[in-house]
């Protein structure tokens, strides 16, 4: 049930400026109008599928590097920071290209990245309070926690 593409000659055409992907450079007037209604989608479609395939390939390679890191590295100390760095690169690639934040209004980028950074700060602060601040009056979060008697659940007698 595919919809046939309108004939560009019949419906009017528009040539996008300076795109390297010539097969997608011609839009019908109806297509251009649809894209004009959504600037983010407009800018995203302007990039050809090949861009996304390249980003997908980069993501696959980064994942392979992540998995192979223990075999590649002898120094275990830089293993964690390297994994975090690779994770952040993958995060930005997916958010920037696949979620096309790069092409969207700045308010969305600020909302998403700002919120993500704020969330990381809040959660790291809370985790550090629980894990690292030993002897701060909250011994249950010491590692290991203090020994306590096991909780015994009283036996429930039906009807009693």
């Amino acid at each position: 049930m595919s919809t046939p593409s309108p004939d560009p000659a019949a419906s009017g055409t528009e040539t996008l400026p300076s795109s390297p992907f010539s097969e997608h450079d011609t839009l019908t007037a109806a297509e251009a109008a649809t894209l004009e209604a959504d600037p983010g989608l407009n800018r995203m479609v302007h990039h050809a599928d090949m861009i996304y395939i390249k980003v997908g390939a980069v993501l696959a390679v980064l994942t392979a590097i992540e998995i192979a890191l223990p075999e590649l590295l002898d120094n275990g100390k830089i293993y964690g920071p390297l994994l975090i760095a690779l994770m952040l690169i993958k995060f930005v690639l997916v958010a920037g290209f696949f979620m096309h934040l790069r092409f969207e209004a700045k308010v969305l980028s600020g909302f998403f990245y700002g919120g993500a950074v704020l969330a990381v700060i809040v959660y790291v602060a809370v985790l550090s309070a629980m894990v690292f601040w030993k002897g701060s009056g909250n011994p249950e979060f010491d590692n290991p926690p203090p020994a306590q008697p096991a909780v015994t659940v009283p036996e429930v007698i039906p009807g009693g």
Partner: protein, 215 residues
């Protein structure tokens, strides 16, 4: 490469954005898309809390005053298997973005092809997660075995539920497309579902690294 496009004034631009009326907003972003972003922002906080909880308890399988297994669930992780699942989910994101560009160009045949591919890859991921959970239970790690197991199953289970809802949305889009109810002018609907799907992928990128790979 220029990022701008100047479209000609057209009656279609003024009369049709899925509802027959174009709604101007202060942000320049449609209310539907902004609503999805706000939802994703709240979901960030949910997964942030779940990941933090797992990090807090992963090396302390026993909470104060609670008895149970002292083994950590991370000892039975199958990294090779989870890596393959992660790759499948990453590629599903690629298929999703190709679906969005297909409908933006008015190519409904490719839209259905890529939506189906995305849903299929998502189903493979969910199948892998079910297999992984089954193996963990066989190894002796149930939901209530200890706190670290509970935190792990809650985190990855919530993510699995998100993926499942995403698959349902993709299948719904496919059905609507077959019925001819997703014209090119409604391509934003596909884009919004795509945002959700990519977010689920982004969350798994975090979970895979923080939970599975970092010792």
């Amino acid at each position: 490469m220029s990022d701008t496009l100047t479209a000609p004034a057209s009656p279609a631009a003024e009369s049709d954005h899925g509802h027959g009326v174009v709604h101007d907003t202060n942000t320049g972003i449609s209310n539907e898309k902004l609503g999805m972003w706000v939802f994703l922002g709240s979901d960030c906080m949910l997964f942030g809390g779940l990941i933090s909880t797992y990090l807090l308890y992963k090396n302390r399988p026993l909470a104060p005053g609670v008895t149970g297994s002292t083994e950590r669930i991370s000892e039975v992780f199958d990294i090779a298997f989870t890596s393959a699942s992660s790759f499948v989910l990453l590629m599903s994101s690629l298929a999703m973005v190709l679906a969005v560009t297909s409908i933006a160009r008015g190519d409904h045949h490719r839209l259905r092809l890529w939506l189906g591919t995305t849903a299929f890859l998502g189903a493979i991921f969910i199948g892998g997660q079910v297999y992984e959970f089954t193996e963990f239970v066989r190894e002796g790690f149930g939901y209530t075995t200890n706190v670290s197991a509970s935190a792990f199953f809650t985190l990855t289970g919530f993510h699995g539920v998100h993926v499942t809802f995403g698959i349902l949305m993709l299948l719904t889009l496919m059905v609507l497309s077959f019925k001819g109810r997703i014209p090119q002018s409604k391509s934003e609907a596909v884009e919004i579902v795509g945002l959700y799907w990519h977010f689920v992928d982004v969350v798994w990128i975090l979970i895979f690294t923080v939970v599975y790979l970092i010792p």
